[in-house]
């Protein structure tokens, strides 16, 4: 009866990335020069606030990265159960209501009727032209005109209440933990946090957390009975699509960097450290790659992937796997077009570092190159890597949308904000205008990018000593 777990390429990489991040965290906490800036990040209000928001995004993306084939209930009976060929994620399972409640076509946010009039056949055989009721959205209402607004209010109130309750409990648990850790009384700890005296801005953190939780519960409550952000052309819930797109956006933003990181670090340091012909070769490589317009390189690579897929069609027997490979490939090729910047920075830094006294001394003692690089150079360029990763993130999320417009982005069947915006182009020309797909994609994308941008500001200020002194 156990569902069969499916590990997609990107899933594996996401968890690898998580592992790397955790290891780096442990490593950083032991090193003074890396721990101090991080402390500065968590002590800034903006830093903590955005970290909470990003945490929610990350949680959804991780839930959405555990895939399996669900068990089919076999109605024919007898021969046990079979695995479905369809691959879904844990997140899909959690919100299966959203996934399965499909209408026929467009409906506005929270609507109870379709967006366009249709011919409805009445029981007596005559045909009437009116807005048909939705199959699911507000289907529990007997008389939508009079009950709708009170029902919405009731559900909203309910959701907000639940959210407040949960956030209150969470905050209390956290405060208790903090109090235990600092061996203070609960009252003291709570007071200092509420007054904003705590070292880490817990007050802001709790406020943002409460906002997010209220939002989560409010939307969950409403979307259990309605389509919170309407439905699209084939009646899929737009809210669900926007949530599913989170994984795509985050993956593009992070995996791309992960993929390019080893090459960029290795080559960058090598070029700066060894100089001479190694430097020449590496510089030649990245100048050449850099001088090709990125879009053209991506276009060619995506076309190549399509050919590979059509030649090996039998290796991908589910839609998810095909889309996944394309996503991974897109990440790789985006990485190829964007690693050169970091590589150049690292080369410059390595050039400087190799002239340092301690490196010179190590060389004189005959320490091997590998050791010098790993012991002395790598630790001292890590902050540059970190800043580059954080800075690139938001740009990559935005780039995905543009690439989808040119049809060289992620697979057209994959949920992504780019694909949503792309289809919204046609919807904007409808009259009355269908705005919710565009709006949903924009809001979700905007929140993510804004948080990432704000966080990257904080991180850069913390890690870049030059700028810090300026403040």
């Amino acid at each position: 009866m156990i569902s069969q777990l499916v590990i997609l390429w990107t899933d594996a990489l996401v968890f690898l990335l998580m592992l790397v991040a955790i290891l780096f965290g442990i490593y950083a906490s032991r090193k003074m020069h890396l721990r101090r800036p991080w402390r500065q990040v968590v002590r800034s209000r903006v830093g903590m606030g955005t970290l909470v928001v990003l945490g929610f995004y990350l949680a959804i993306a991780l839930l959405d990265s555990i895939h399996f084939r669900p068990v089919l209930e076999d109605s024919a009976g007898g021969n046990g159960t079979t695995q479905s060929a369809e691959v879904i994620s844990l997140f899909d399972e959690l919100v299966s209501g959203l996934r399965k409640r499909q209408e026929k076509t467009y409906s506005a946010p929270l609507a109870v009727q379709l967006y366009a009039k249709e011919n409805i056949e009445l029981p007596d055989g005559s045909v009437m032209r009116d807005y048909p009721r939705l199959r699911y959205g507000g289907a529990h209402l007997e008389n939508p005109e009079s009950e709708w607004s009170s029902d919405i209010l009731k559900l909203s109130g309910f959701g907000i209440l639940k959210g407040l309750l949960v956030s209150f409990i969470t905050a209390n648990i956290l405060i208790m933990l903090l109090a235990v850790r600092k061996s203070r009384s609960y009252g003291d700890e709570a007071r200092s946090i509420l007054k904003g005296h705590s070292e880490i801005p817990w007050r802001v953190t709790f406020l943002v957390l409460a906002c997010m939780l209220v939002l989560v519960f409010w939307s969950a409550e409403l979307s259990s009975k309605y389509h919170l952000l309407g439905t699209d052309k084939v009646g899929e819930d737009v809210f669900y699509q926007a949530l599913k797109s989170i994984r795509t956006g985050l993956l593009i933003g992070t995996l791309t960097t992960l993929v390019m990181l080893p090459a960029a670090i290795l080559l960058g340091i090598m070029a700066g450290y060894f100089r001479g012909w190694v430097d020449d070769v590496i510089q030649y490589t990245y100048t050449t790659l850099n001088s090709i317009p990125g879009v053209l390189l991506i276009a060619a690579a995506i076309l190549m992937l399509q050919i590979y897929m059509s030649n090996h069609a039998d290796e991908f027997n589910s839609l998810v796997e095909r889309a996944d490979l394309r996503l991974l490939f897109l990440c790789v090729i985006l990485g190829v077009t964007s690693w050169t910047g970091l590589c150049r920075l690292l080369r410059g830094e390595a050039l400087k570092l190799r002239e340092m006294d301690y490196v010179q001394a190590a060389t004189a003692f005959g320490v091997s190159h590998l050791q010098i690089i790993t012991r002395h150079i790598l630790p001292n360029v890590l902050h540059i890597v970190l800043i580059a990763v954080v800075l690139d993130f938001s740009g990559l999320v935005l780039a995905e949308a543009v690439l989808s417009y040119v049809n060289i982005g992620v697979d057209p069947t994959m949920n992504s904000w780019g694909n949503m915006i792309n289809s919204a182009r046609l919807e904007m020309a409808r009259e009355p205008i269908v705005w919710w797909s565009l709006a949903a994609a924009m809001i979700f994308m905007f929140t993510l990018v804004l948080s990432a941008n704000l966080l990257s500001d904080v991180v850069r200020d913390a890690f870049d000593p030059r700028l810090r002194s300026n403040r």
């Binding site: 024919a76 079979t82 060929a85 009039k117 032209r129 027997n317 049809n407 057209p412």
Partner: protein
Amino acid sequence: MGISIRPIIDDKLWLLLLLSAALLSACGDSAWNDPYPGDDKHRNTIYSSFTERPKHLDPVRAYSANEYVFIAQIYEPLLQYHFLKRPYELVPLGAAEVPKARYYDDQGNRLPEDADNERIAVSQYEISIKPGMRYQPHPALAQDEAGGYLYHSLGEDVISVVNTLADFPRTGSREVTAADYVYQIKRLAHPPLHSPIAGIMGDSIEGFSQFGEASDLAYEQLKQSNGIGKDWLDLRLFDLKGVEVLDRYRFRVSLRGKYPQFVYWLAMPFFSPMPWEAEAFYSQPGLGERNISLNWYPLGSGSFMLEENNPNLRMVLAKNPNFHGERYPTTGEAGDQEAGLLDDAEKPLPFIEKASYSLEKESIPYWNKFLQGYYDTSGISSDSFDQAVQFSAQGELGLTEDMKEKGIQLQTAVTTSIFYLGFNMADPVVGGDSDRSRHLRRAISIAMDFEEYISIFNNGRGVAAQGPIPPGIFGNRSGNEGINPYVYDLKNGKPRRKGLEVAKQLMVQAGYSNGIDEATGKPLILYYDTTSSGPDGKARLNWMRKQFTKLGIQLVIRASDYNRFQEKMRKGTGQVFMWGWNADYPDPENFLFMLYGPNSKIDHGGENAANYENSEFDALFVKMKNMENGPERQRTIDEMVEILRRDAPWAWGFFPKAFSLYHDWYKNVKPNLMANNTLKYKRIDPVVRDQKRRDWNPPIVWPILLLFIALVASAIPAVRVFRQRERSAAR
């Protein structure tokens, strides 16, 4: 004096604003958002668009709709379809009359019209053309006083400074002769020109392939001696057995066997006159590299000529001053008189002076410009449909109040094309002649709810197909007697798609109960090949998956580009696919041939993409092909359609309906799906158009002013802080 730079910046900004204001007002009294040059607005010009640069304007090569938009107006084939009459009727254009075939047996004896197909060895068409037709003015025909051609031996110094055809100051013209038509048929046969219909014509015109071999060989030799494309092979020197010039205005075409569909081909631009001078001129070395070729600058005798050819921006057709003259038809279908379609009867064509086609890639700007009055006609994309068209309480189609207020009119017609869901019959799962696969195909045919597809993606603009032949083509049975009994039931006198339980029952019979293969216990997975991309693609694919899920079948979508898709079709590695076909001519043969075994895609590279092969059907097809329309042909077609419905190599899909909207200043609109040369019948009222354009596009400036005021207001506190700072710093 700390603020020395600020005023400069401000000055510049003001200058910019003033400049743009001046430029806007310089557009005169036309609307601000008029996309055309100001002096154009009173002209008798039709405005339209093209989305993609036409690839070939050479009538030997052109075969797609976006090319015919231009060349059908420029070149005049022998025949044309009557503008108003339905069913479609061929009438003479370049020819003096519609030619009749004469049949001969293998001894050369004349046979009667109703002779047996087997006895007919040769059919001959004697075609006489209208005297006095003349070509458009063109430098290739420019002659000096002595009668020598001015531009047929250009020096390199001339060619190197030429960029467009307009760089040749002198033009000339001459009369169209029968030899020009023959010359063009020879061009069809000449392999280096890759005419898409060379294969078909080779099968029917006598000596066509032999001519191709000879001319190709000669061309190769010419190339060996002169280099690629450096010289011109005079096709007049080679004989094509089946095509002879009889005199200045007459020529004869001999076909192998009987081929009644041949006359339809004569109405396509493939059979237009082409003066040999054109090829002699364009083949001069260096011109091709400068984009000066028949593919870019046509030379025709039709009602229009290409005046401006800038595929990056716009193409302009202008009236051909040498046009031999044609008059608007005096008779039409019933109702045409009332619709005002005969108001212009007997008046000389064409009515308009110019037609300007702008490059417009996106549908949204096009639609908006149409609403603003800058395009005269528009199709309706699915997304603007609700804005334009509504159903009345009785369920009839009509325009919305908005549109009526603007005086916009609507025309609808079921197109002579089909979109179908094909099954690859060579595939072991969905294909083959077994009952198992047949049941599977039929189950899918029922589950594919094309009515819903039409209503979602085409806004009801289409008719679900009951078989391969669209309405309006001979052989289509309309009404209740034409329904497909394998997919539809008759309920309350209306065809109704069978319920899902029937489809599920068929799945059980096929051994896939609930989509689980009984033999292996695994779910049935099918592969759907598509080229669908773009904004709408995702929704379509999701819909597709939904249909198959109804039967428990998992549909895997393999999206690829059109190249890959075609390759898959050629290799037969596809399983389920959706494709379309647009009729070449109004004859059932042009649809049924897509299921004729010897046309299969895998083995013969033909158009039978489903690779369907059924000997009974094939035999009937050969018989039906050469029949004249009549009850006997209808009977044969009915039999064929029954075989197809039983085997279900296609889920029959739908016939799209074309809706077009046009403004009330645009006259003489009647959808004609066969004729491409309808521009000459169109008439417009430029004064009304200009007035309406201005009324519809009043510039709204107040938000800008508001924004400006808001900016100034928000600057006030900033100025205060500024003062403070200055003072504190000075201290």
